[in-house]
Symmetry: C2
Subunit: 293 residues, 2 copies
């Protein structure tokens, strides 16, 4: 079976800043779309464009062949999938459930097992690229689960993303996203401390960036977040509270695998501090606040 607009009904749960444009691409491609969101108003533009509204996951599930979710936190994922009124208990046999939330690898594995015991497939497929990537259908999508379910869902992924990679069995999508966050965490330390050093040395940090951004110290964060730090622009592209959630999951997973990751641990501690200071709704670049003088 190849998934196509004429033979597959798609469910979409979580129509926030990421989910709404992602669901919009599926609708624009001609798919019949059923939607649920905790706050209905955020789904209204999709409903206005032809999506069918449901009041609960339990109501949505039986109507759909493939169901995509992108919600906030692992607890939300557990609730949507594993509660008695959740997706796993109410999905059609043969359905494919795809969680695109950045969440816990062990939760993804649990959903996979519970789903499988009911004849339902589950993929974990977190993304990177932010709201811009979602709007431009340019996300990086990292997928774990059964390869044949991945192959079936691929046409949908291709409507939402550009860099779509199958990473292995259930949980591997989530683990891959956490690898991304671990790399980013160390880099954020470097970017913040580099700028703080530049200021402390009496340099003009913007002129310094001209010298170093294109070289061996270059990174996405140095090019994109350092200028915002210097401008005092801490508006969220990616929330501190979400990044901290990811760092906690990664730190816990690292500990379980016996990996000593002092850079990750340092970054997690600093983001805990930033959050405790009341900046959890800032963007991740607000880490620079801790180095302010």
């Amino acid at each position: 079976m190849t998934i196509s607009p004429s033979d597959a009904v798609i469910g979409f749960i979580g129509t926030g800043v990421m989910g709404r444009p992602m669901a919009g691409h599926l609708l624009a491609a001609g798919y019949k779309l059923h939607v649920f969101n905790r706050t209905k108003a955020k789904a209204q533009p999709l409903i206005d464009s032809g999506a069918t509204w449901h009041d609960s996951p339990a109501s949505l599930a039986p109507a759909c062949d493939i169901i995509i979710t992108i919600v906030g936190f692992p607890d939300d994922v557990e609730q949507v999938y594993l509660a008695p009124a959740g997706l796993v208990a109410n999905a059609k046999a043969g359905a494919i459930l795809i969680d695109m939330t950045t969440s816990r690898p062990d939760t993804a594995q649990k959903i996979y097992s519970e789903a499988k015991s009911r004849g339902v497939s589950a993929l974990d497929a977190p993304v990177s690229g932010g709201d811009t990537g979602a709007r431009n259908a340019a996300l990086s999508i990292m997928v774990g689960g059964d390869k044949d379910a991945f192959d079936k869902a691929l046409p949908l992924f291709q409507l939402m993303g550009k860099n779509i990679v199958y990473q292995g069995p259930a949980g591997c999508g989530q683990h891959t996203k956490l690898v991304n966050q671990v790399a980013l965490a160390g880099n954020m330390l470097g970017v913040c401390e580099a700028l703080a050093y530049a200021k402390g040395a009496g340099l003009d940090p913007r002129t310094v960036l001209q010298s170093i951004s294109a070289g061996a110290a270059g990174s996405w964060s140095l090019s994109n977040l350092a200028p915002r730090m210097l401008a005092g622009d801490f508006a969220p592209g990616f929330y501190v509270k979400h990044f901290l959630k990811d760092l906690r999951i990664a730190a816990e997973a690292a500990e379980k695998m016996g990996l000593d990751a002092p850079g990750l641990e340092l970054a997690r501690t600093l983001y805990e501090k930033l959050s405790a200071l009341g900046f959890e709704n800032d963007g991740t670049q607000a880490l620079y606040r801790l180095y302010g003088r």
Copy 2:
């Protein structure tokens, strides 16, 4: 005065893996070149191409209008510049001395003052881009010192580099290079721990890199050094011993300016450990050895 091959004699001290190709570009542009190096054999290709050999900085200095140095460590810089038989004591009045070694900002300031008291100009102009950048005349050159000396020397910089930025008074070139190293240090933590996490989670790290290299976690190090780490290729592009030297200077400078930089401190500690284990002549990517399992 504009510096040109017909009216300026150039001295070059330090004709190693970086200095030799840099000096070669000046020679190829038609400049009269005088050279000195601790190991004469490394200067031989330049001598064969027409450069004039000297047995000491004291002998070279009086013959030159502009003298460029790129040596190993701050102690070498002190010796070459400030010893009685060094450049400052023996340079012609009106000469410009340009140190392109990555060295101490306070040493650069001291050289600047001593030189100025004798009517000689001094610039600190460390580079990034490695031996490839040196060979391709594509270095990033970060310059501190008097602006008019920078303007005079610019035609020479343009023969060796592409991204040439005046950063401010004496020492600012060195401080800018240290900013680069601070950013890089944090990033190296992130890259190493990300790969170690990926392995620990049972992922294929190369497949993971396909998902994350072009996104928000992307960096020069992730693209260029992570594959070498995974291949166990620790051959030096940039030596651990040189990076550690830079991190020590940066950590000391940060402390002097009252800057708490825990990421830099962590990276320095880990590179100290790596060096103590006998890997000081590896490339910086050998930090990954500490995360091996």
